[in-house]
């Protein structure tokens, strides 16, 4: 039998999750309730949190912190988070966006989790609270590597630096159904420019590996280069390094490998999707 516990504070929820390995946090319900409806989740405790900090948006300054319970609709309602509107809009339809949270997206299995791809390109930190202690920040990449082993603790927030220029963050989700479809793949590219040259680019892919991944080979070839045809060609050639895409109902591994370099080149060239 499934029980539901309601926690007024994040500390209480973190304590519950630490003390019971069959306890699971429920945010918007778009992942957890699917398992309940399918009969995959029949025992244990669902933990709800009503702590205001869980849904807090701190987007005014250079360092941004978003509570894990912040929904895609809340991101879209924030003018200060305009650079994240494209990835937020790529999640589901309006009803899903009212429910789905940033924290939940971090746990979405491939090929879902497109918002996390954008956070990865922003080198976000994930704030995790284990037990009743205070939260600690860990790089999103480390979080994703450890995610499927479970037992990480309660994700309370994500933090990242605001891009110098909103246009520095580019995002593209490739899907067969428009405007709402599951990703064949997604790409986020944070491309700060210094004197016309790319400085410390960060590129991330969704659905090209079991979790969202950084495209370090592409980052290396772009570093210090102007975004011209030669740099884009080099990026295209390096695009697939480290990719381990799957064959699923949406696309085959072969297809994903074929189209990723094409879409990466278009994204870097600033072409419309």
């Amino acid at each position: 039998m499934l029980d539901v516990r309601h926690c007024a504070t994040l500390a209480e929820a973190a304590g519950l999750l630490a003390g019971d390995r069959h306890a699971l946090l429920i945010g918007g319900g778009t992942l957890v309730m699917r398992d309940v409806n399918e009969g995959r989740l029949t025992d244990g405790t669902l933990v709800r949190v009503s702590d205001p900090a869980f849904r807090q948006v701190n987007a005014g300054g250079a360092r941004i912190e978003l509570g894990a319970g912040v929904t895609m609709a809340m991101v879209l309602a924030s003018r200060e988070l305009g650079f994240l509107h494209a990835p937020a809009r790529s999640i589901g339809g309006p009803a899903v966006r009212n429910m789905a949270t940033i924290g939940g997206n971090l746990f979405a299995a491939c090929p879902y989790g497109d918002f996390t791809v954008a956070l990865l390109a922003l080198e976000a930190q994930v704030v995790v609270q284990s037990g009743y202690g205070s939260g600690r920040a860990m790089p999103l990449e480390d979080f994703l590597a450890a995610r499927d082993r479970g037992g990480i603790g309660l994700v309370t927030a994500v933090q990242f630096a605001r891009p110098q220029n909103p246009a520095d963050l580019r995002f593209r989700k490739v899907s067969r159904v428009k405007p709402k479809g599951i990703a064949v793949l997604s790409i986020a590219a944070h491309l700060p420019l210094a004197g016309g040259r790319v400085a410390q680019p960060r590129i991330a892919y969704g659905a090209m590996a079991p979790t969202p991944i950084r495209a370090r080979a592409v980052e290396r070839v772009l570093e210090g280069k102007p975004l011209d045809a030669a740099a884009i060609q080099a990026a295209r050639q390096a695009a697939l390094e480290g990719c381990r895409p799957a064959t699923d109902a949406i696309a085959s591994e072969w297809y994903r490998r074929e189209i990723l370099p094409v879409h990466l080149a278009r994204l870097l060239a600033g072409e419309a999707p």
Partner: protein
């Protein structure tokens, strides 16, 4: 496991009932309260036929815990008509033959209602985005889009 009490407003009327701890809003509406307007389609958040308004915003009732609706304002298609007078969206759906098998209709109407409440004069693209979470397996999307655009132009389309 003991059932839990929930109080909320359903289509403007205060209601109270008991639910299973992990029961869904959809189950509470259909089995508990006999409001059969929202349907169980995929149970996965993909088809949108269970869409209801929670505090005016579209939510998928099959993925929403009933206990999370304490004190909330729930609205379904059952409360759209004003006595014998259909809501302008309902009338437009009839006029434009926007229902074929009709299974997706409650979700489509609810999504459209939420869209027009926020955006009384949507473009065709905005209508398509507004119903993008709702699947019509008869693929009758064109009459649905036409009906919503027609209702948007009619007085009273924003009626809550």
């Amino acid at each position: 496991m003991a059932k839990l009490p929930v109080q909320f407003s359903l289509n403007g009327t205060d209601r109270a009932t008991f639910v299973e701890p992990a029961g869904t809003l959809l189950d509470m509406l259909r089995r508990g309260l006999g409001d059969f307007a929202p349907k169980y389609g995929c149970g996965q958040g993909t088809c949108g036929v269970c869409t209801v308004l929670v505090d005016g915003e579209p939510h998928l009732s099959c993925l929403t815990l009933a206990v999370a609706c304490e004190g909330r304002r729930i609205e379904t298609v059952s409360g759209m008509a004003d006595g014998p007078d259909l809501h302008p969206l309902q009338q437009a759906f009839m006029d434009h033959f926007a229902a074929q098998c009709g299974f997706c209709t409650p979700g489509m109407l609810t999504a459209a209602r939420a869209l027009l409440a926020k955006n009384p004069n949507p473009t065709r693209e905005e209508v398509i985005d507004g119903i993008s979470g709702n699947i019509c397996r008869c693929t009758g999307y064109e009459p649905i889009i036409a009906a919503i655009l027609a209702a948007a132009g009619s007085p009273g389309a924003r009626r809550a």
